[in-house]
């Protein structure tokens, strides 16, 4: 509808405050980048020609078209010299998808439409394309309308997510975190899934949390002094670090000798190391796998910045506006009834999912 392939029956669509129904549809479409499912590359044209479709329609000079094409192919990570003269049938699904993105970017449109752009590739390639595209978007900063059936993709890619319900009804519109934390309706809650709490974890990174300070000491330090400091701290372990402040291992407060000095032999295996860029989901997963309650946050050179604990992650996930009496959500007869209803509705849910996303 935004590029007027379908005309709205009512209402208005504004781009930069301008009602698009007053624009010439041909000119409008040339101003909007368009990526469709299965890429829609023209099989009879070389990759270079495919990327240059819109610039050619706009009447750019051949030289300028070619320069732009090469620039775009490079941007999406395809070597122009290798790919320019190939045909789409000679490319893998992921490569074709990138060409599709390059083609949509050709005339540097301020607005892009992407209709399930990564729907036709396998999950591994999809994940890579998503990450690449997010990186690309950091440079491009386009307004993108991205349609997907995959709620995880929506949450990963979107700054704002609109959940559509059957009948083309807008069920909820907001940032991904809000959709996961406070689904507006039962439909949205079911749609984002019972694991929405876990999904939220992947939206935040360790660096978003306030790190807990760790009690640290070097081998050779006075043991009694270190023991006193550890006992004074709520966390029961002392973190042994080397001279450069890189972690060596933990010492349980009960294992710290009452006299003498600390030695490396005291240290027990370390917690997982995470960086500020690690998502909370990955951090939590690493802690669960290592059967520990804290991860050590290190900087790029491996120096200890602080700790991230299971408790601090849980605290970060707690919706800020939730009062003390909010326990009904997870327990009690109400919750049990709701769970029963949810299990019964599971078949309907599958149905609802496809319809909703198609709408």
């Amino acid at each position: 509808m935004v590029n007027r392939l379908i005309e709205p029956t009512s209402g208005r669509i504004l781009i930069d405050g301008r009602d698009i129904s007053k624009d010439d549809p041909i000119a409008l479409r040339r101003r909007i980048g368009y990526v469709i499912q299965q890429t829609g590359l023209f099989p009879h044209q070389r990759i270079g020609e495919n990327v240059a479709v819109v610039t050619r329609l706009l009447g750019w000079s051949r030289k300028r078209q070619r320069e732009r094409t090469d620039e775009l192919l490079t941007l999406v990570g395809l070597d122009p010299a290798r790919y320019r003269d190939r045909y789409p049938s000679q490319l893998s699904g992921g490569e074709r998808q990138r060409v599709g993105v390059a083609r949509a970017l050709a005339a540097d449109p301020p607005v892009m439409l992407m209709d399930e752009p990564f729907g036709a590739v396998d999950p591994i390639v999809r994940e890579r394309l998503q990450n690449e595209f997010l990186r690309l978007q950091e440079q491009l900063a386009k307004t993108i309308l991205f349609v997907t059936h995959d709620i995880d993709e929506a949450i990963k890619m979107g700054d704002l997510v609109a959940v559509m319900q059957q009948g083309g009804e807008l069920a909820q519109f907001g940032p991904p975190d809000e959709i996961l934390a406070r689904p507006a309706t039962d439909f949205v809650a079911r749609f984002v899934g019972a694991d929405r709490g876990l999904k939220r974890l992947s939206l935040s990174r360790v660096g978003d949390l306030e790190l807990q300070t760790a009690v640290t000491a070097h081998p050779g330090d006075d043991a009694e002094e270190a023991r006193r400091r550890t006992l004074a701290d709520p966390f029961r372990y002392l973190l042994l670090t080397d001279d450069d402040h890189r972690p060596i291992g933990w010492v349980d407060q009960d294992d710290i000798p009452r006299s003498g000095v600390l030695t490396e032999a005291l240290a027990i295996p370390m917690s997982p190391l995470v960086s500020r860029r690690t998502t909370l989901k990955d951090a939590l997963s690493m802690m669960l796998a290592a059967d520990v309650v804290a991860g050590i946050v290190v900087d790029r050179t491996g120096r200890v910045l602080g700790l991230v604990t299971v408790e601090s992650i849980a605290a970060a996930m707690r919706p800020p506006d939730r009062g003390v009496g909010a326990a009904t959500d997870g327990s009690g007869p109400d919750a049990a009834r709701r769970l029963a209803a949810e299990l019964a509705a599971r078949d309907d849910q599958e149905l609802g999912r496809t319809e909703a996303t198609r709408a």
Binding site: I26, L28, R30, I36, G40, F42, P43, H44, Q90
Partner: protein
């Protein structure tokens, strides 16, 4: 073997290469007649096929008519249009009866494969491609010329190829109602019990049909984008490695 040598001798006889009944004249007549027929059939059938394929309107009617046309034997068509060509000749006094008759028959035979294949080729174009083109701001004519036609081209050309080969074969029958072309040798051969002439004529018609077939497969290789068929893509790669790059006629 003797018969074979006899036919060879017939070809070797200089008398058969001269005059209005000589091989060059008859061959030319045959080729011109076929060419004109294919040309006219194209002018009629191609736009119709494009229209039906692009809009989807009238598909059932056109395809049914085309299929009926295909089921009728060439000879029957010739007989049916013969009275018509006599009428044309009487009214205008312009054309040779046999020429017009044969031409009409050939045109009628050439139209169905061109219409159906053009239509089928256009129909076979992935709707996603058309939508992509529209979404990028192509006009109707640009979608037709830059997407639908080039993608449908292999199927369209296959239809033309069928039509052309059929026309070349049918032109032979023109001689039965008094027309020219290579068919004359066959008719004369039967009438005069001249076996060598008969076989020589048949041989030349067969060779011409094969040449037509070859011409169209050459055309197909030239005109169809290598991107549309895996085999030619590999061939293209080899060419590209040698540093020569063909630009498809798109």
């Amino acid at each position: 073997m003797e018969a074979f040598i006899g036919v060879f001798a017939w070809f070797a006889d200089p008398a058969n290469w001269q005059g209005p009944n000589g091989i060059p004249t008859r061959l030319l007549e045959h080729v011109v007649m076929s060419g004109v027929a294919i040309g006219i059939a194209l002018l009629v059938a191609f736009p119709v096929g494009l229209y039906i394929g692009h809009t989807g309107r009238g598909a059932f009617l056109a395809v049914s008519l085309a299929n009926i046309g295909r089921a009728v034997p060439s000879y029957a068509v010739l007989v049916i249009v013969f009275p018509l060509s006599i009428a044309v000749n009487r009214e205008t006094g312009l054309f040779d009866i046999a020429f017009v008759g044969t031409l009409l028959a050939m045109i009628l035979l050439a139209i169905p494969p061109i219409v159906t294949n053009t239509f089928a080729g256009m129909r076979g174009v992935d709707p996603d491609l058309v939508e992509a083109g529209r979404g990028m701001g192509m006009r109707g004519g640009q979608i037709l010329s830059r997407i639908e036609l080039p993608v449908a081209l292999p199927v369209i050309l296959a239809g033309m190829r069928t039509a052309a080969v059929q026309v070349v074969a049918t032109a032979t029958l023109g001689a039965v109602i008094g027309g020219g072309g290579l068919g004359r040798y066959i008719v004369q051969g039967i009438a005069r019990f001249d076996y060598q002439r008969l076989v020589a004529g048949a041989l030349m018609v067969a060779l011409l049909a094969i040449a037509t077939e070859l011409f169209f497969s050459w055309l197909q290789r030239r005109a169809v984008s290598p991107g549309l068929s895996g085999r030619s893509v590999r061939a293209y790669e080899n060419v590209a490695q040698l540093g020569r790059v063909d630009v498809p006629a798109v």
